[in-house]
């Protein structure tokens, strides 16, 4: 029997379905947008390597039917750096969550952005540690509740767009899982853009974060994103804080060009070593 197939199925390990994500979780939307970006940009599926860390979003690598690596907590970026260094001809995409990339992996994030490693980081920000049951994340808004902040978060959260921008990322955008077209477009753009690209995706976690904070279900989150998202294209990234249930600035904030790590390496070593130095492949055509 020939049943109509979803166009994104070729990108998924259908033999692993159903997946582990909760009903209403935003991560599936991110996967869908990525598959659509791959389709729309006609990117060869075997030219892309997918790397994840640990956590709910870290499971993306396991569901994409691509060369994929589920690494250790916080360390997807240095793994991706090694992979990209050995295979500059491959596009390397990192999917992970806010806890993985910005708490335990924060040091790697800023250094990869500083070096301008040619990798694409998709950070799913749901303001919490979902896999372990809702502990406080470095993105959790002040006064939100978490199992390890039972009286409300009293730390200032990171503004991820500002962090990535100030560390040197060449592309910085933020969308919510309501903005599926804009998100797929951002993913198309970063697949084509050389250098360290950072896309933050605000995603609902109805089971853990929203329930604990009495923020309604997945549909309520979508309505909230629709009503409260504020298009802020090109905005000063210092002004992109996300207050508790306040407006969410979204858009593409940074889009600039800097030589990548391997391009810079070739330039400096070529200058110093002269003819002795054979330029290393960079995977970048400009």
């Amino acid at each position: 029997m020939n049943q109509p197939r979803n166009p994104v199925e070729p990108f998924l390990r259908m033999d692993r379905m159903p997946h582990i994500w909760c009903p209403g979780c935003g991560i599936g939307v991110v996967v869908n947008c990525f598959a659509r970006a791959m389709l729309e940009s006609k990117t060869d599926i075997d030219s892309v390597q997918v790397v994840s860390g640990i956590g709910c979003t870290g499971r993306i690598a396991g569901y994409l039917r691509m060369d994929s690596y589920h690494t250790t907590h916080g360390r997807a970026i240095p793994f991706a750096t090694g992979l990209k260094t050995a295979r500059p001809d491959m596009k390397v995409v990192v999917f992970s969550g806010d806890g993985d990339l910005v708490a335990i992996g924060g040091n790697h994030l800023i250094h990869a952005a500083r070096r301008n490693v040619d990798i694409k980081v998709i950070c799913v920000n749901n303001f919490t540690y979902g896999m372990t049951g809702g502990q406080v994340a470095p993105t959790a808004p002040v006064e939100s509740l978490a199992t390890t902040s039972p009286f409300g978060v009293f730390e200032q959260p990171f503004n991820l767009a500002f962090l990535a921008d100030s560390a040197g990322a060449v592309y910085v955008a933020r969308w919510t899982t309501y903005h599926v077209r804009q998100l797929a477009k951002a993913m198309r753009e970063v697949l084509q853009k050389p250098g360290f690209c950072f896309v933050e995706v605000i995603a609902p976690c109805p089971t853990i974060y929203q329930r604990r904070n009495r923020l309604g279900d997945a549909l309520d989150a979508m309505k909230f994103y629709k009503e409260q998202s504020k298009l802020s294209e090109g905005a000063d990234t210092r002004a992109l804080d996300i207050p508790m249930q306040g407006p969410i600035p979204v858009g593409r904030f940074v889009n600039r060009d800097r030589p990548t790590l391997l391009e810079n390496m070739n330039a400096v070593l070529g200058k110093r070593l002269g003819a002795k130095y054979q330029p290393y492949p960079t995977g970048v055509t400009r």
Binding site: T71, T72, R75, P78, G82, A86, R87
Partner: protein, 385 residues
């Protein structure tokens, strides 16, 4: 397969162990390396950062040892041979990724130029107190291979062997140097490339639709997939099945982790490498490895001059531990004397191996200096009586 001549600095050199280790890695085909400075291993990364650009490779100094120890694994899956280098505190930070390499069967080399510990300890002075960490430092059940060179020449020769064993068994190999071996300068002969044997990576010959990334044959070591060729494989540190998919069950754990330990345990004879001095008639069997095996050679001379039938057994590959040969020798001896720069690590393996059939004495030393051969001699004389 023969070594790529670009990485082989053929000739007779006067090198310290750290530099010799770097040259060995280049001869072994290492073209991508990551590290972080730490005494007394820094000279390895310094040399490799100047040598790799000349041979078509890349060295990156990472933001920490955690990053270095996983960046090498990304490079290896990309098809490169890769290693990282560190000491004491840096090796402790890398331990989670020794476990990842064991679990994902990623062939790579961790060089540990051991210094005195614990914690910051004695950065500039020798120690051999990371021998158990090398074996057990990451959580969970797994097996690794560890090699202890005792000279700059061996730092060159044996690090090539380390890369070869890593490829053959798909395990992380711990290259257990120490500050003395790393910083001593001696003659190092680097042969022509065509005399250096390199174990090629074994890639699958199955087509993608038939390929199971973690299905092994009788040798228990699965072939690796090439990236970007349609295999669309998945690699995870979670317990996984032959497809590489996570499976959270006792059965999957038994099948996978059993194979990970058995691929070393059932093939120990292929890996074991020992050196023996005057063991034919030895009544007192000295056991030492790394730099200490050279100190004990002097003790051996002194003991023989005094008419004591002493011999030296030196594990070159320390893990897996060479039980079989040690047991044979110990059964013929009156006593076994273990000399190591720690308060008792490999002696535990010796006691387990000898299993009460011969008395075992430890000559410990906290590190920071080497044993005095005369002091070891005093113990030999005592047990020979």
């Amino acid at each position: 397969m023969k070594a790529d001549p670009r990485g082989v600095l053929t000739g007779t050199h006067f090198l310290d162990g750290d530099h010799a280790c770097c040259e060995g890695a280049l001869a072994a085909g290492c073209r991508v390396a990551f590290g972080y400075p730490i005494t007394p291993s820094t000279e390895v990364v310094e040399r490799i950062s100047s040598r790799l650009p000349e041979v078509g490779g890349v060295f990156l100094q990472m933001e920490d040892e955690i990053a270095s120890s996983i960046a090498i694994q990304g490079a290896v899956w990309g098809g490169a041979r890769s290693m990282t280098v560190s000491s004491g505190p840096g090796i402790s930070l890398m331990m989670e990724h020794v476990g990842l390499a064991a679990m994902t069967e990623t062939p790579c080399v961790f060089v540990n130029v051991q210094r005195g510990g614990p914690s910051t300890g004695l950065p500039t002075l020798p120690g051999q107190a990371d021998m158990m960490q090398a074996r057990w430092g990451s959580h969970g059940d797994y097996e690794i291979i560890a090699i202890a060179p005792n000279s700059p020449q061996e730092c060159f020769d044996l690090v090539i062997h380390a890369f070869n064993l890593a490829e053959r068994f798909r395990v992380p190999v711990m290259f257990m140097m120490d500050e003395s071996v790393g910083h001593m300068t001696e003659k190092v002969v680097i042969p022509p490339a065509e005399q250096i044997e390199i174990e090629p990576r074994r890639f699958t010959t199955d087509p993608p639709e038939k390929y199971l990334p973690f299905a092994a044959g009788p040798d228990l070591v699965p072939p690796m997939p090439p990236v970007g060729k349609g295999y669309r494989f998945h690699v995870t540190g979670l317990t996984h099945d032959e497809r590489g998919y996570p499976v959270m069950s006792a059965e999957a754990q038994e099948k996978l982790v059993r194979r990970l330990v058995d691929k070393i345990r059932t093939r120990t004879d292929e890996i074991t490498q020992c050196q023996e001095f005057m063991t034919e008639d030895a009544e007192v069997l000295l056991v030492a490895y790394g730099i200490t095996s050279r100190v004990v050679q002097r003790t051996l001379q002194l003991a023989r001059q005094k008419g004591i039938k002493a011999g030296l057994f030196r594990p070159v590959v320390v893990w897996p531990f060479p039980e079989k040969r040690l047991r044979e020798l110990a059964q013929k001896a009156k006593a076994v004397v273990v000399v190591e720069l720690n308060y008792g690590q490999i002696v535990l393996e010796v006691e387990r191996t000898v299993c009460g059939c011969t008395p075992v004495r430890l000559v410990p030393h906290g590190g920071g200096a080497l044993h005095d051969p005369e002091q070891v001699l005093a113990v030999v004389e005592e047990v020979a009586r």
